[in-house]
């Protein structure tokens, strides 16, 4: 069994080691190792298109994750207070948002937005006084909306599970002691759900940052990092891509480790 487990870890890490290794290739090819060099890190960082794609992915990831976390957490809290029927409707919609494949979310958003934008643009054009009316287009907005749909459902599920495991008695005890609902929330409930909110944010950001298929449909002329990488695979990958992947890996490792560290710190003090 040990051998099998070892094999699985080798299997999981061989491609990753390979990616990092080729980031240090001196040649132009991402498939033939010709010597050691760190030039591709510099090249990646000075490639305006790659940096643009990275920036776009960060904007989309952070915005959609922030919105999803705030709205998702609010919904998880609010759903405790609504009628069972309303809650069933919400639960079904959230489940749908999670279960419907990304490719379908991408298509549905594209189809709907192209239609809506078509109508809106002709309306704007007909009432616009100037010669160059503004045009609604696919872009950041549509990617954030489509990503946020899935990740908000994710956050709601996670936070709801946490709320369900919280004792109601804490909240009730607090109210009994004449704390206002707001004080109760910020001092009692919020610290309790905070870890799951943060976990939700992290998951939401990861999903959005790595998503290709939804953005592929609704990105319009914007290029996110996965779209850029996909395009590079078609035109021939240079070790720039490996370099940026290695940097993202290191950044996320730091993020995971610090998150774990913070969480452990928190559990230790409780």
């Amino acid at each position: 069994m040990r051998a099998l487990v070892t094999f699985v870890y080798v299997f999981l890490y061989t491609p990753i080691v390979l990616i990092v290794l080729f980031a240090f290739n001196s040649g132009r090819s991402a498939s033939e190792f010709t010597g050691f060099s760190t030039q591709w890190f510099g090249k990646a960082l000075s490639n305006a298109f790659l940096m643009d794609a990275l920036e776009n992915s960060l904007i989309v990831g952070l915005t959609s994750a922030a919105l999803a976390t705030v709205f998702g957490t609010m919904a998880a809290l609010g759903l405790e207070r609504v009628s069972p029927r309303t809650r069933a409707v919400f639960d079904a919609l959230f489940a749908a948002a999670i279960v419907v494949p990304g490719v379908v979310i991408g298509i549905a958003t594209l189809v709907a937005l192209v239609e809506v934008f078509g109508i809106a643009n002709s309306v704007i054009a007909s009432v616009w006084p100037g010669a160059q009316p503004p045009r609604l287009q696919l872009g950041f907005g549509s990617i954030i909306a489509a990503h946020g749909l899935f990740t908000m459902a994710l956050v709601t599920m996670i936070v709801k599970a946490r709320i369900a495991s919280l004792g109601r008695d804490i909240v009730e005890a607090s109210s009994d002691l004449y704390a206002t609902p707001m004080t109760t929330f910020w001092q009692i409930v919020f610290p309790q759900i905070l870890p799951s909110v943060l976990a939700g944010f992290l998951l939401a950001f990861t999903f959005s940052f790595d998503d290709f298929i939804i953005a592929f449909f609704v990105a319009g002329s914007k290029t996110t990092l996965p779209i850029y990488v996909f395009a590079s695979i078609r035109r021939g990958v240079t070790p720039e891509i490996n370099a940026i992947a290695a940097m993202v890996l290191v950044a996320s490792l730091i993020l995971i480790l610090s998150a774990r560290f913070l969480m452990r710190d928190r559990t230790a003090t409780q």
Binding site: G78, F90, V103, I107, V111, A145, T156, I233, R260
Partner: protein, 288 residues
């Protein structure tokens, strides 16, 4: 006073669930309705959508039967392959691994998730291509082996990409397992094998079902892995959909297939839950 408080409470509730509700309505319900409307439309002469009311698109679904069959075969097979590899790993992590190393080992399962799936799959394109493993085989005297662009390559990519998603839920369910149960079973003279099948397996079933359902459902919409490792030959519904929107520009037919895919996903999910209830005796299948 009481009334005022009631109104206030309602307003707060509305403010809490309002944004999420609006988001779900505008970006899930409306687009889905639009997609259904499109599915009854016609392809415009130059491609795109033209309003109409016809069942033509749904009648044409048979022409993508191969993609549906492919997906409905490879998705469960891929999920089962993941399970076969994931179970021993999860078991090892939860039961056998020393507590000191456990956290590190579990983290190592999650880390690959943090590098782009695209880049990792690209690494496999290299490994399976002629310069990768076939080249090593050539050095051993085995010539002209072809690995890339085969169903096997796609299956390997699937197992690689989704393995962590299978390991985690099984690990979580096994971790909750009360070790005293295993000890009690051993004390009562049960053989390790019968303890494993009598106690461990049934208790891990919720995790297994969660993993299977999760991986199968995600695979039903897969596009990238067959595209990159299947050479355009191993086709999933996801690939058929991308093709319809980004090549043949047949939006209504693409919408019809997308609607059908959603129906298929719901059916698969219902079957999975039914099985989970029967075997696990639990009504809880956490999808997250």
């Amino acid at each position: 006073m009481a009334l005022q408080q009631e109104t206030r409470k309602k307003l707060v509730t509305l403010a809490l669930v309002g944004p999420a509700g609006l988001w779900l309505f505008v970006f899930l319900v409306l687009p889905f309705i639009a997609m259904v409307v499109f599915a009854f439309g016609k392809r415009a002469p130059e491609g795109g959508y033209q309003p109409a009311f016809t069942f033509e698109q749904f009648a044409n679904l048979g022409s993508r039967a191969a993609a549906f069959v492919n997906t409905l075969m490879l998705a469960p097979v891929g999920a089962l392959a993941c399970l076969l590899i994931a179970y021993p790993v999860a078991y090892y992590l939860a039961v056998k691994a020393s507590p000191r190393h456990r956290l590190l080992l579990v983290s190592l399962v999650v880390v690959p998730f943090w590098t782009s799936l695209l880049v990792r799959t690209y690494a496999w394109m290299y490994l399976l291509g002629a310069r990768g493993i076939p080249h090593l085989l050539e050095l051993l005297g085995i010539e002209n082996v072809r690995l890339i662009n085969t169903p096997g390559a796609v299956l390997l990519g699937i197992v690689y990409g989704y393995l962590p998603l299978m390991i985690m839920p099984i690990y979580v369910s096994l971790e909750k397992l009360d070790r005293r149960l295993l000890e009690a079973s051993a004390d009562l003279g049960a053989k390790p094998v019968s303890t494993f099948f009598g106690i461990t397996v049934p208790l891990s079933l919720p995790g297994v079902m969660t993993g299977l359902a999760l991986v199968t459902i995600l695979l039903l919409g897969e596009y990238l892995i067959p595209q990159l490792l299947g050479g355009g030959k191993v086709f999933f519904i996801g690939n058929a959909l991308v093709d319809l929107f980004l090549q043949s520009r047949n939006w209504p037919f693409g919408s019809a297939i997308a609607v059908t895919l959603v129906v298929v996903v719901v059916i698969v999910l219902m079957i999975a839950m039914r099985i989970a209830w029967r075997f696990a005796g639990t009504r809880q299948v956490d999808l997250v």
